[in-house]
């Protein structure tokens, strides 16, 4: 009788001890998850975002959840440049298009490889990526190419490998945009560990992806870059465009540091590769 009791007592005590240990561990894990990562600082005391970064996802194919699909020319390319499936980077379901805008998106997709045999066609049809046009924000962030952040107290320059696109983010000053532009006008500020960037004045001829998701000249993007480890950033972008969407919406994704030794942003001046597509109809027959 006393043996059974002592065994039971030991078992009970162990169970309680185990539970206490487990609870304590859980508390530690919880605390770890809620303490934000603190990035190393630049000399002026801000989170240091300097480096070469790249997205690793399928967002450039289609920012929404999508299936696999053929390349544009399967007889020519086989599985090369076929589309992989993706779970999407847009939070909260399908993009909230206005009905007429959804029709335009579908038309964009159908005409995504329309060769621009006239100025009018060039300006109204075709994926701008095929033409090596600067991709705008946020698409430049998640194209399958790296970009380099160069950070100074007054200004952050981002150099993108694709098309050598460049943008300046002004910090602590709010100069006005002289005109609309392909990469937009960016004013940045620091909020704790995050760089928050307001992007306006983007020309309406860039797309969000190869699927034809698009915007108007009313586009207003708010980006957040938040270090989550030494080699990761969390990238969030809120899109507000009342001419195209019924409400603002948000995308998010990790960005990964290019950590190889001597990582280098090598120019990708792709204009020469777009010329046949764009001007081939003007050669001598």
């Amino acid at each position: 009788m006393s043996n059974r009791l002592s065994v039971t007592t030991i078992a009970l005590a162990s169970a309680v001890a185990g539970a206490v240990v487990a609870l304590a561990a859980a508390r530690v894990v919880t605390q770890g998850a809620t303490t934000p990562y603190r990035a190393s600082r630049t000399p002026d005391g801000k989170p240091d975002l300097n480096g070469i970064w790249q997205a690793l996802n399928e967002a450039n194919w289609d920012i929404e959840a999508h299936n696999t699909g053929p390349s544009p020319a399967p007889q020519l390319l086989g599985a090369l440049f076929a589309q992989p499936a993706g779970a999407g980077v847009v939070e909260g379901g399908p993009l909230p298009y206005r009905p007429e805008a959804l029709a335009k998106k579908k038309e964009n997709f159908e005409r995504r490889l329309t060769r621009p045999t006239s100025l009018e066609l060039n300006e109204t049809a075709g994926d701008p990526e095929a033409k090596c046009y600067m991709p705008g924000v946020p698409r430049a962030t998640y194209m399958p190419f790296p970009f380099q952040i160069v950070q100074t107290p007054q200004q952050i320059l981002i150099a993108y490998q694709f098309a050598n696109a460049t943008r300046q983010i002004h910090i602590g000053r709010e100069p006005e945009a002289p005109a609309e532009s392909w990469m937009g006008w960016s004013i940045g500020r620091w909020e704790g560990e995050s760089l928050v960037v307001d992007v306006t004045s983007q020309i309406d001829r860039t797309w969000f992806d190869r699927a034809g998701n698009f915007h108007s000249d009313a586009l207003h993007v708010v980006e957040r870059y938040t270090p989550t480890s030494r080699d990761h950033l969390l990238y969030e972008a809120t899109i507000d465009d009342p001419k195209v969407f019924t409400r603002p919406w948000k995308m998010s994704m990790p960005l990964y540091r290019r950590v190889e030794q001597n990582a280098l942003l090598i120019d990708f001046k792709c204009v020469e590769y777009a010329q046949d597509f764009m001007y081939g109809h003007l050669l001598r027959p």
Partner: protein
């Protein structure tokens, strides 16, 4: 101040390098440093100048111009800038170039040429090989011309017959002596100097960690740059150019540049380039081009506007190529 530095003529290059360290401008140390201890070259500059690259034959033997001669040149330029020498009517911006170009005084360096070595202020002779290539290209270009003077047109077979700049593919490097879009910015972060040119929105990210160049088979329109500090001077070794890129009439297949950037005062950088390509020129040559922060059009980073060259180039390419087809058709009809 800069003119005084270069008026010593024969000392030329050496004087220009040494003086900034010896004679800092009052009230501003020439050698300011970034917080991590690198010399601070940061700022917004322009590199336009009316000084020609090569010394004109009329100024042979003359390294520097006197103040009187400079004033005379300024006056001549001012006359040329207004429409046919007459004062401008209200609301009239003047001739095409007057509207576009930056005309501030001081655009001249005070020298008769940007080239300081060789001492005659001119590029060295071409090698026999380079001469042959140039003659070949000239012959090919002549074969594409139709019509007789003054109505001579060039037939563009394709976009490749247009300069790479007109195609918005790339623009020659190093940049020198532009009349407009001549703004440039230098930014620095630990381990890098970054040069952002307004023209072509080109960005050169220059690592300072001594890593090797890209392998020789990797050739880029803007080449590949590696930097190091020599005292307060940034020395950049620049090579790996695309063979199709052209500089001063020669392909950049074997071109190698050494740039030297030194801060002179709060608003000025001394910028020197030594051009080294023994397959093109029989000797190396060096030019000096001040980068100045005194252009009212380029005072802040945001004054470097987005240069969406290719994005805005469709109509130009369409016109050039369809025009070439029209010329061909007209020539064919005439010969039938």
């Amino acid at each position: 101040m800069f003119r005084r530095m270069v008026a010593s003529g024969a000392l030329g290059v050496a004087v220009v390098i040494l003086l900034p360290a010896l004679v800092p401008v009052a009230g501003q140390s020439a050698a300011t440093k970034t917080p991590w201890g690198d010399p601070d070259l940061q700022g917004v500059y322009t590199f336009s100048t009316l000084t020609p690259l090569e010394r004109p034959v009329t100024l042979e033997g003359k390294v520097a111009l006197t103040e009187a001669e400079l004033a005379e040149q300024e006056e001549r330029d001012a006359e040329n800038r207004v429409s046919e020498g007459r004062p401008l009517a209200e609301g009239n911006p003047g001739t095409y170039n007057n509207f576009w170009t930056s005309n501030e005084k001081g655009r001249r360096t005070g020298r008769s040429s940007l080239i300081v070595d060789p001492s005659d202020g001119r590029k060295p002779p071409l090698t026999p090989e380079a001469t042959k290539v140039r003659e070949q290209l000239a012959a090919e270009a002549a074969a594409r011309r139709v019509g007789s003077p003054p109505f001579v047109h060039v037939i563009y077979r394709s976009w490749k017959d247009l300069p790479t700049y007109t195609q918005c593919v790339a623009r020659p490097m190093p940049r020198q002596n532009q009349a407009y879009n001549h703004g440039v910015q230098i930014l620095q972060s630990p381990g890098y100097v970054v040069i952002h040119y307004e023209s072509m929105h080109d960005v050169r990210v220059i690592p300072l960690d001594g890593r090797p160049h890209l392998p020789d088979n990797v050739r880029l329109w803007n080449g590949d740059s590696r930097g190091r500090w020599e005292g307060d001077t940034l020395v950049v070794d620049w090579r790996n150019f695309d063979p199709r890129q052209e500089y001063e009439g020669a392909h950049q297949t074997n071109m190698h540049f050494v740039e030297r950037f030194t801060r002179v005062d709060a608003k000025t950088l001394d910028y020197q380039v030594t051009v080294d390509d023994p397959t093109t020129w029989t000797a190396g040559w060096t030019f000096v081009l001040p980068w100045r922060g005194d252009d009212s059009n380029y005072q802040q980073p945001e004054h470097l506007y987005e240069y969406a060259c290719h994005e805005g180039n469709y109509r130009q390419m369409e016109d050039a190529l369809s025009g070439a087809r029209a010329l061909e058709n007209a020539a064919a009809r005439r010969s039938n």
